[in-house]
């Protein structure tokens, strides 16, 4: 805890003792819960008449962890996840810019249909979109995932950019127009760069969400990390390794996502400093840029 909260005093000796006692109780409860989980999982269990050792037994891990081929497959799965995320991210940004551009068009003929499409895309599940692309366009699973994510996140980024443009002072646009720039030039040269910088934290956070959502490829049949581990490898090595595979997948995902989130946060903090926006003191402590995104 960095800055002291406004919500309570710096604790005195009595409060500190109470807080310590409360902390000890909380930690004990959590530890007891964790211990119960570990104990239950570590019990040997029956599987169709055969007794298998508990999940933390080395025999449950050895075959996977010591098999270089296993790690090759996992690596390939991770690569497939990152690949899909990278391509989808590029598409999402391009689509986002297009959406923002068309949505703020002065011509109603353009604006209204685009708004309807945008609402439609934003309102339905990404998974459904992927499925739609997969079945209707028969693009194969990879492009279903990439295009689905690109389109959906593009719509969200487009809305963020639009909000960014709307928050600019009117003078920016007026100055551009009065210099003789066309509307499009004003938008591309004056408004977009500023909106983009302002919305950078939200856009980056949305890209982290996109990375997370590549896991939906599992359902539409794209061999990304989760499908490789939980489906292909579990079928190959046998179901008794499911727990091990789950733990390995979880650790990989958390490592990748937490790293990306951290980078995002760093960039957001830096861009806030550059803009000279002093961190406002708040009641509940600083928030993540990712809070603007809800998925």
């Amino acid at each position: 805890m960095s800055a002291p909260s406004v919500l309570f005093d710096a604790p005195g000796p009595l409060a500190r003792r109470r807080s310590r006692i409360a902390s000890v109780i909380v930690i004990l409860v959590l530890a007891a819960g964790a211990a119960w989980v570990v104990y239950t999982l570590a019990q040997p269990r029956d599987s169709g008449g055969i007794t298998l050792p508990g999940f933390f037994d080395w025999s449950r891990w050895e075959r996977l962890v010591t098999d270089p081929e296993f790690w090759t497959f996992v690596g390939r799965g991770l690569l497939a996840t990152l690949q899909a995320a990278a391509i989808a991210a590029v598409i999402a940004i391009v689509v986002g810019v297009l959406f923002a551009l068309l949505r703020t068009s002065p011509k109603a003929v353009v604006r209204v249909p685009v708004t309807i499409v945008l609402e439609f895309v934003r309102g339905m599940p990404v998974l459904l979109m992927m499925f739609f692309i997969l079945l209707v366009a028969s693009t194969g699973a990879f492009w279903a995932v990439v295009l689905g994510l690109g389109l959906y996140n593009g719509a969200i980024i487009g809305e963020a950019l639009r909000a960014g443009i709307a928050s600019l002072p009117r003078g920016q646009k007026e100055a551009g127009l009065s210099l003789g720039l066309t509307r499009l030039q004003t938008k591309m040269l004056i408004e977009f760069p500023q909106a983009f910088r302002q919305m950078l934290p939200i856009i980056l956070a949305q890209l982290v969400v996109l990375l997370k959502d590549t896991s939906l490829g599992f359902i539409v049949g794209y061999n990304e990390l989760i499908r490789v581990t939980m489906n292909n490898l579990s079928a190959y090595y046998g179901n008794r390794f499911l727990f091990t595979l789950f733990v390995i997948t979880l650790v990989i995902y958390l490592t990748v996502n937490l790293t990306f989130s951290w980078v995002t946060r760093r960039i957001a903090a830096r861009s806030a400093r550059k803009r000279g926006a002093a961190a406002k003191k708040t009641i509940a402590g600083p928030l993540d840029p990712a809070d603007a995104t809800t998925e």
Partner: protein, 215 residues
């Protein structure tokens, strides 16, 4: 089109299932999320630490993995819950950190002077949060919370792909059975989702505007 009309009862069943997933896990996530948010701003370091870790871990885990946890690991731990409740648990767990963060952002929307004034009047943590901050924060919290619920609506489709025959599951079955009418089948599914998400979105927008004017 005929496929859709013929299978309307199936669609409605799926829609009802989606709605019940949404309502139950939405309410549960609101409760859990509020508790986590209060823990996060509380004076007890272990509570706020736990809340921070909980938020960070769950937010960085894909929903697919959370549902895998419910489908595979929970039975290992001795749960014998039907799939519907597994889905509820997964969706609740996945949504609650977003609720917590939305609440925190609402609390941050209350001017800090309010908290300072309450504290300088001698109110304690519980009183400050309970009678001064939360009543004001709640209106700022509602629009972002509705957005969280919209996201939850869309996320129920993932649960459907896993185990529950809700809208997406129905759509998938029908699309596989009627290869010649895939577009119609899936557009109908999308329409049902939009029936939930678009009104909620409009509501969120309205409330946001209303509350901005009031401040």
């Amino acid at each position: 089109m005929n496929v859709v009309i013929d299978n309307l009862p199936l669609y409605l069943e799926g829609f009802a299932q989606t709605l019940s997933l949404l309502v139950i896990s939405g309410l549960a996530a609101l409760v859990v999320g509020t508790i986590v948010a209060v823990m996060r701003i509380s004076p007890i370091p272990s509570l706020s630490g736990f809340a921070a870790v909980y938020t960070e871990l769950l937010r960085n885990t894909p929903l697919t993995l959370v549902l895998f946890f419910c489908a595979i690991i929970l039975p290992y731990l001795g749960s014998e819950l039907p799939y519907f409740w597994c889905a509820i648990i997964g969706l609740t767990a996945y949504t609650s950190p977003f609720v917590a963060e939305a609440i925190r952002s609402g609390v941050n929307g209350v001017p800090i002077g309010q908290a300072e004034a309450a504290r300088s009047l001698g109110l304690g943590f519980g009183q400050t949060v309970g009678i001064i901050i939360f009543p004001q924060a709640i209106r700022m919290v509602i629009p972002p919370l509705i957005n969280v619920l919209i996201a939850l609506t869309k996320n129920t489709s993932v649960a459907g792909a896993f185990f529950v025959a809700e809208l997406f599951g129905v759509g998938r079955t029908l699309a596989n059975a009627n290869g010649n009418a895939v577009v119609a089948v899936l557009l109908a599914v999308a329409t049902f989702y939009l029936l939930i998400t678009i009104p909620l979105g409009i509501l969120a927008g309205r409330l946001e505007k209303k509350f901005v004017v009031q401040r």
